[in-house]
Symmetry: C2
Subunit: 300 residues, 2 copies
DNA sequence: GTAATGTCTTTTATCGGGAAAAAACATTTT
DNA sequence: AAAATGTTTTTTCCCGATAAAAGACATTAC
């Protein structure tokens, strides 16, 4: 079987959405950039679109013949990369409970249960290990360290160090830096979301990530920027898992963000520090309350 | 070929050194713990030792018949794991120059040149990516970010944040903590090394790592502890590469460590902070001077 | 002559297989 | 009965192979 063509399927689906907007598609290289794939994949997409009568394709001419129908799309689950499938499956087990600290992780068993090769699982575990939740025993199995209270505290400690620093760096950026426009745009999005919170509260998670990444980038330090991957990952699954009071929490967070943005715009270090601290404190609280107190990691 | 038996060969060599010290070897499980391998490997070792007339092996009885000779040992290069081989080979290229920032890294080519399978190279690159020197383009090649001045500055910035924090935590540890004994032992080792600096200056690198790891552990934060892997890796290869003024540098560093240790023992936060800062500053300087000024990373 | 399309080559992502090493189970020894 | 040895099973590590995807080169269109 070797390799699934999820890249093609995902790009195909995204390309279908373009058909609604135009009467004819752009050049192959242009489509490639637009969809983030190579020309090889673009040509496969065009070939299929011609086959299914969606477009008429003749060299430079790619005329749209009809609007895409629901059945033209590939099923969602076929557009995920193996890495995403493995990650989701792994995180589900991890958060579903029964995943005690100290437990062994078996590559072969994981591979079998998910229905993929061992190589993909190995690569996933190696990549995943930087999140600090698992650890490798040389020439042997992986050990689960567990999504514990200790983990959350260690994670948020670093987050707070890094974000306070990044926020200070952000506020010190020159007037003509492009980030101020980015910040304005984010502020607007926050206000829009706040006004429609009743129906759109679940969109906050994505906005949250973009906001914090913008701030972290101001550190100009790859280790700080990369560390946000760990935070984003944890919060991503945390949000999926723990929906209790979601709307309420997000409403509070939006207001904190707006205060934080105002502080950044004031460029007053003291205000920035205070607003940042306040928000981080409640973020930590949210995370901590979702972790059951009972089980603690055993000392090694 | 599938898998090399380097674990066996390395353990065999280490086991040979035990023969000098005793008249008979301990039980199989005990040997396994001692050598850090499974009983399966222990039994392979014993089997060969019997074959080559090194021991007489009969059930619980493992009598040493003769002292090991140089030709009994497996060649050093056969005892390295594939991961180590790939890492060394990769770092040599990286530091040997000609490795410009932005350059592409080709898995297949690397695998061919080192003479290993692509899987091992891929796994290495994934593991290595957390050091911040390379980056993956989705569905495509890796990009070298380069061992640049910017890298060194970003690395040392984090190091300083983490170590100042860890040092403060260390000094605040209770009197009865085991770390104070560890620190005393390290202090002694420093003094011994200082007195024989003329002949043993190249042993400093290893002592340096142990010292800093001890301090970082006081943070009780896995992300801080793990980050020292990045520092250790960089300094390890940096030391191998840049031997200029090595003795002089190490002599200074030992004195700084001793002052740092004294400050920790005083448990005076102000003194700790000052001694730590002073040492980190000169460590940063050492690293920076070894990096050519000229080439800078291109903005993305 | 620039930028597209058409064609061919190389590289990446992933699997299955096989030897090395670990782990589990059964049996013996003290 | 605790701990060793003997035996069998399982898992990890690593390679080679193959389809998907990217990339390079050749050709054509404007």
């Amino acid at each position: 079987m070797s390799k699934s063509n999820n890249v093609y399927k995902d790009a195909y689906n995204r390309c279908l959405r373009l058909l609604d907007e135009t009467k004819s598609l752009p050049s192959e290289p242009e489509l490639g950039t637009l969809l983030g794939v190579s020309r090889t994949t673009v040509r496969s997409i065009l070939a299929r679109m011609e086959e299914t009568g969606l477009i008429d394709w003749n060299k430079r001419n790619k005329t749209v013949l009809r609007a895409p129908r629901p059945e033209d799309f590939f099923p969602e689950e076929e557009t995920d990369s193996l890495a995403e499938i493995i990650e989701r499956s792994f995180m589900r087990r991890l958060l579903a409970g029964g995943a005690e600290a100290g437990m062994q992780i078996n590559e072969l068993e994981l591979a079998r249960e998910i229905g993929v090769g061992t190589t993909s699982v190995r690569e996933f575990l190696i990549r995943f290990s930087r999140f600090g939740l698992i650890e490798k025993r040389r020439n042997s199995h992986w050990v689960l360290k567990g999504f514990t209270r200790a983990f959350a505290l260690e994670l948020t400690e670093i987050r707070e160090i890094f974000e306070l620093r990044s926020a200070a760096a952000f506020a010190a950026l020159p007037e003509d830096s492009a980030v101020w426009a980015d910040l304005d745009r984010l502020e607007l999005e926050h206000r829009q979301l706040a006004s429609e919170i009743a129906t759109r509260f679940n969109e906050f998670s994505e906005l949250d990530e973009r906001f914090h990444r913008l701030i972290h980038r101001a550190s100009h330090n790859r280790f700080i920027v990369d560390f946000y991957d760990v935070i984003a990952m944890i919060f991503h699954y945390h949000y999926q898992w723990n929906k209790a009071e979601e709307r309420q929490r997000n409403e509070v967070a939006i207001q904190e963000h707006l205060a934080y943005i105002a502080a950044l715009k004031s460029r007053d270090p003291g205000k920035v520090d205070a607003a940042c601290r306040k928000h981080l404190k409640s973020a930590r609280q949210t995370l901590l309350t979702s972790i059951p107190e009972g089980r603690q990691m055993q000392p090694a």
